[in-house]
């Protein structure tokens, strides 16, 4: 059995693919940015909020982390309109991604906050640093350093799982692939090309994040 590979039909729509990839990147960065705000708020609420708030945040985190992303998308895209909220697929995709990544970010950031020893803060204050200085130099920077690798790999995971929003036809890379597939019927060719694009994006962003890490956190601290 020989198969006649035809990539020209796929490559003819390269600008369409590029648009899809661009939306995937925009969706991922947008969701990550808003998700970080959600994550920070939840992490603070979980570490220092009153009990009902802690309980609610916990429920949110556990529910999101223990149900599939696809089902969360369906709940938002098909569920919300029955309550009178109309959403475009792109907006529903963004909301679903924010809700999803917010829960993971919350747990990562909480671990970062808890990694700072109380003694460090007390030592900073005893040395005469003002509270804001203590927060900036003693809490924030080491905490960021601790959570940075986990957050960046969460971003890559988010970008890859964004392909699932094609199930509601948001216009990102995988949806574009589905459209080209239904016009050209070159299924294998289109999906192998798109898989290659995802891989390139993932490798590119992990290299970029590693470079930023080296620039921003290159000071050495011995934490043992």
């Amino acid at each position: 059995m020989t198969y006649d590979f035809q990539f020209d039909a796929v490559l003819a729509s390269w600008d369409y693919l590029l648009n899809g990839a661009w939306l995937t990147i925009k969706l991922s960065f947008g969701a990550m940015a808003i998700g970080l705000v959600v994550g920070i708020a939840c992490a603070l609420g979980k570490t220092s909020g009153p009990r009902p708030v802690r309980w609610l945040i916990n429920a949110y985190i556990e529910i999101i982390r223990n149900t599939p992303f696809l089902v969360q998308i369906f709940l938002i895209f098909f569920g919300l309109p029955t309550m009178g909220v109309r959403l475009s697929p792109d907006l529903a995709a963004l909301i679903a991604m924010v809700v999803n990544v917010g829960a993971y970010a919350a747990e990562i950031i909480r671990a970062g906050i808890e990694s700072i020893h109380k003694g460090q803060i007390e030592a900073g204050l005893a040395l005469g640093l003002r509270p804001l200085q203590v927060f900036r130099h003693i809490v924030l920077k080491p905490a960021l350093r601790t959570v940075y690798p986990a957050l960046t790999s969460q971003f890559i995971l988010l970008m890859l799982s964004s392909s699932i929003v094609s199930a509601i036809s948001a216009d990102e890379l995988t949806s574009v692939a589905n459209n080209i597939q239904s016009q050209t019927f070159r299924s294998f060719e289109i999906y192998i090309v798109v898989t290659g694009i995802y891989l390139a994006l993932a490798l590119m962003f992990s290299a970029l994040f590693a470079g930023i890490y080296r620039l921003a956190f290159s000071y050495s601290i011995d934490r043992r």
């Binding site: 529910i63 149900t67 369906f74 098909f78 392909s163 699932i164 995802y198 891989l199 993932a202």
Partner: protein
């Protein structure tokens, strides 16, 4: 014709759980067997083996699971094999799981202190004996909590089989929703069922981790 959501619909969802579980079990066992070889290759002395395993892990961790399922599904057609959604989903999830478990277990194998490797080879153990009697028993202890935790990812991942048309829990939810048009209720129940499957595993993983973390320090 719009139906009401009744006992029959609920039972249909419940019966679809068996396919979600079947896919999960296949992916976990198959992925575990392949993953062990991936982990061994990833920690092997021979450089080509390590490169091969690193590339394998990199490709599966750097591309969406959905694309992997599509490629298995459509790739089989290219090879002239008749592939149904069930086989494609089982095969795709197995390969994906093997890469992730391989990477998790690599970390566990490498967490065994160097002295243990040296002592074992000083005692004259060759690679199979060294792995079988010294390294793996210690690595397994470290590996249990993250492996149980990863099982949650496997179960959630099986939901993507719905997109290539295999009727497991999520696809069953779509079918029921198309007939009843009560998305909140239907997908709420679907989410609740996944939660009941996954949450105990998450709790167990966290508890095991807390228990094993203490004595190793």
């Amino acid at each position: 014709m719009i139906r009401a959501f009744g006992t029959n619909e609920f039972l249909f969802l419940l019966s679809a759980v068996q396919w979600t579980l079947a896919l999960s079990v296949i992916a976990f066992i198959g992925g575990g067997i392949v993953g062990l070889f991936v982990a061994l290759a990833r920690t092997a002395d021979a450089k080509p083996l390590r490169w091969l395993a690193t590339g394998y892990i990199q490709i599966f961790q750097g591309t969406p699971l959905l694309m992997q399922l599509f490629l298995v599904f459509f790739g089989a057609t290219v090879l002239g094999i008749d592939m149904n959604p069930w086989t494609a989903a089982a095969l795709g999830l197995t390969l994906n799981t093997s890469a992730f478990l391989g990477e998790i277990w690599r970390g566990c194998i490498q967490s065994v202190p160097k002295g243990q490797w040296e002592a074992a080879s000083a005692l004259g153990l060759r690679y199979p004996g060294l792995m079988r009697f010294v390294i793996l028993p210690q690595a397994v202890k470290v590996a249990v909590p993250p492996t149980v935790g990863y099982l949650v990812q496997v179960i959630k991942g099986t939901s993507l089989a719905a997109i290539i048309g295999f009727v497991e829990l999520t696809r069953a939810g779509q079918i029921v929703n198309n007939a009843t048009f009560q998305p909140f209720l239907v997908f709420g129940i679907v989410a609740a069922i996944y939660f009941v499957l996954c949450w105990p595993l998450s709790l167990l993983s966290a508890r095991l981790e807390a228990r094993y973390a203490a004595p190793t320090r």
